[in-house]
Amino acid sequence: MRRALHAEWTKFRTVRARPLALLGAVLATVLIGLLGTASRGGGAAPAPPLGPGGEAVSDGFTFVHRTLDGDGSITVRVRSLTGEIAETPTRTVPGLASWSKAGIIVKEGLTSGSRYAALMLTGAHGVRMQHDFTQDTAAPGSSPDAQPWLRLVRAGDLITGYVSADGAAWTEVGTATLRGAPTTLQAGLFVATPAAAQNTGTGIGFAPAAATAAFGPVELHGGWPSGAGAGGWTGGQLGDAGGYPPGVRAGYTSAASGFTLSGAGDIAPLTGGQATAGGIGVERFLVGSFAGILVLLVLGTLTTAGEYRSGLIRTTLAANPRRGRVLAAKACLLGVTGFAAGTIAAAVVLPIGMQGARSSGFVLFPVAWTTELRLVVGTGLLFAVAGVLGVALGAVLRRGATTVAVLVVALVLPYLLAVSSALPAGPAQWLLRLTPAAGFAIQQTLPQYLQVLDVYTPANGYFPLTPWLGLAVLCGYAVTALGLAWALLRRRDV
């Protein structure tokens, strides 16, 4: 096997076009990645706040609050939740976004992005307990009450949410641990509503929305100062709540019967679609990968189908009659060189692209270093598997042009169609589930959140499969092709 590998490596490096092509794969990936993103004019968008997990978040809403020390509980009834949506830039109509939120919240402080736990009635998703932007729990039970009583109880770091239909019988919704939370929290009522999704005929659009919630009297218990009325309460809009429908603004009123709050904004993680248009996913800098992958497909194909064309395959198999090993050596060669090319390309283009985008004022979705590592390694794996696919299918089909055509149609084309919005979201997602192009999922960086309504399409950076599952689909194709190649290579005369 070592000799077979040595021979294949010598073959590879002694046709000068091949190492050069490998270099070209790296360069193409880097240049396309930088061109595709650098061409847009720079803006000076403010960076979004970051949540406790380092993720970009929306943290703008209407908040009526007071400071509360130590343990205790806060209880309130939501009497109504209504909303308005900007049907056109000048016309506002009644309507409630499905993830409009009204309820009670305890928050570490008034800084955007600070930790919180909240219990809320939503526009269309019943009562939810949410905390720290990414966490979301639905209240048990199927029929949400339109006017539920909500209660948050603090005991140390632990916040527990309860819901009740009558103010007497309480059901636990969920708990949140605000580890290391200060003794003094900001607690109170809030209203937020993200932009409302509208079917525009050409797709989903998002229109500014606002919501108004009427609350009953607030009850404070335990170590928290009891007392009704406006004593100690302040309010207003916290953070950036985005756009409002025309003629609507944030605000609150206080009466003996309770508070009424109006507002827009959201308390949620930012997503990559049109809903928030919050920034650029760093995987955009890897968009040139398809070009590098194309090169690897061709290089892989040349080592098998190319040898059939020249007749060299007979010399190769005479030199090593153990055909499985010959196939393995060729696959290894393309796997290793492909992995090297892919990781180098990604490791070069990512930091340059991110640096360039930041310096020209773009907002990048922050990603963890583990995610960056996955992008680099994943791109290497994509290149490697592409090379192996070329080797395997080239051995099966024995014709270079046919092999490359099949692989382009199976791997590169579905990806380009899906991420370029050339296809509707439905077919695009099926392509990225079923074809080898599913492997590109390894390059996605943005998690999908059920509690945020957005257009989670491939064009926005959302793949139907998780990163490693998508790569597994691609690897499944490669393994199948290798198996077929092995069986045919052993059986066939050359």
Binding site: R3, A4, H6, A7, E8, W9, T10, K11, T14, V15, R16, A17, G306, E307, S310, G311, L312, R314, T315, T316, L317, A318, A319, N320, P321, R322, R491, D493, V494
Partner: protein, 319 residues
């Protein structure tokens, strides 16, 4: 250098069918060390298929081929056991001659220095760093020979090595093949042209339609085909004919001053004529060319000393 049974190539009852075409029909012969064995037959007779089967490239439907007693596919570093030239054009054109041999050397664990040795041996030292794609057919043949020699194998199998060689190249190739055999190697050389092998091969395996028609030394084959005829040129044909007839030799007048003598050797004819004082200007064995022998083999019912195979006899009987 001495080789023995390790150098033998044995082909045992190979059968191979491509669709409805029978390519090999019980091909059986042995290539022995120390001599050049010509492997001859018309195009399509199964020469290349046999060689591919020996190299494990084509799987026979029945029968086996052994190199020194082992099937090719079980050989470790097979190029050190048998070197083969199948298709001189089977090259990656943009790879240099030296690099073409280098990857082959690496595939067998052969040191790179050996590459330069064989390049010099086939006269390609100056062209080592040129792209093989720019080589003439003759140079490619030399490169193919170099590849076959790379592992210094005791057995060699060369398919049509004379193809594309210029006259100088043909002379060189003949001498080269002879020297390889003289080193004790088993050398199998195929050709569809008999006269290419006439002065090269010591032994011939003649095949037709996938089977061996004759497996004999060149001398035997020629003798059998020529039927021991001697041509005598003399000013006294009648006197000579009478003398030879008395000695029990068949004669016939084939010209005003030529007599064709059948059934004895030229030496005996000369001895008889000299003893009787009959004048003559020429006595020569009527040598048929190998080409003619081949024609005779496949065309006529030629039978000689058990070296004609059963297959050939079957064919004769069928006629």
């Amino acid at each position: 250098m001495e080789y023995d049974t390790g150098a033998m190539i044995e082909v045992i009852g190979l059968r191979k069918r491509f669709g409805t075409t029978i390519a090999l029909d019980g091909m059986t012969f042995t290539v022995r060390p120390g001599r050049v064995t010509g492997f001859v037959g018309p195009n399509g007779a199964g020469k290349s298929t046999t060689m591919r089967a020996v190299l494990g490239l084509d799987a026979p439907d029945a029968g086996r081929a052994l190199i020194g007693g082992e099937p090719y596919r079980s050989l470790r570093d097979p190029l050190t056991r048998v070197g083969a030239l199948l298709d001189a054009g089977a090259l990656q054109p943009s790879r240099t001659a030296r690099n073409h041999l280098l990857w082959l050397a690496h595939s067998q664990g052969i040191p790179a220095a050996r590459v330069d040795d064989v390049l010099a041996q086939v006269g390609l030292a100056d062209a080592a760093k040129r792209r093989a794609g720019g080589f003439s057919l003759g140079m490619r043949q030399r490169l193919g020979i170099a590849a076959a020699l790379l592992g210094d194998p005791p057995a060699l199998m060369l398919d049509e090595p004379f193809n594309g060689l210029d006259p100088d190249g043909i002379v060189w190739m003949r001498g080269f093949l002879a020297s390889l055999a003289a080193q004790g190697r088993a050398v199998l050389v195929s050709s569809h042209l008999m006269n290419e092998l006439q002065d090269t091969a010591d032994h011939l395996v003649v095949i037709g339609r996938g089977r061996v028609v004759a497996d004999a030394s060149v001398r035997e084959l020629l003798a059998a085909a020529s039927g021991r005829r001697v041509v005598l040129r003399t000013g006294a044909p009648a006197q000579a004919a009478e003398l030879l007839a008395r000695a029990g030799v068949e004669t016939s007048a084939t010209g005003p001053d030529t007599v064709t003598v059948t059934g004895t050797e030229a030496e005996r004819v000369v001895a008889l004529l000299v003893a009787a004082g009959v004048p003559f200007s020429e006595v020569r064995a009527d040598r048929v060319s190998l080409e003619e022998a081949y024609w005779a083999l496949t065309r006529d019912a030629v039978q000689y000393r058990g070296t004609v195979t059963q297959a050939a006899r079957d064919e004769e009987e069928a006629r």
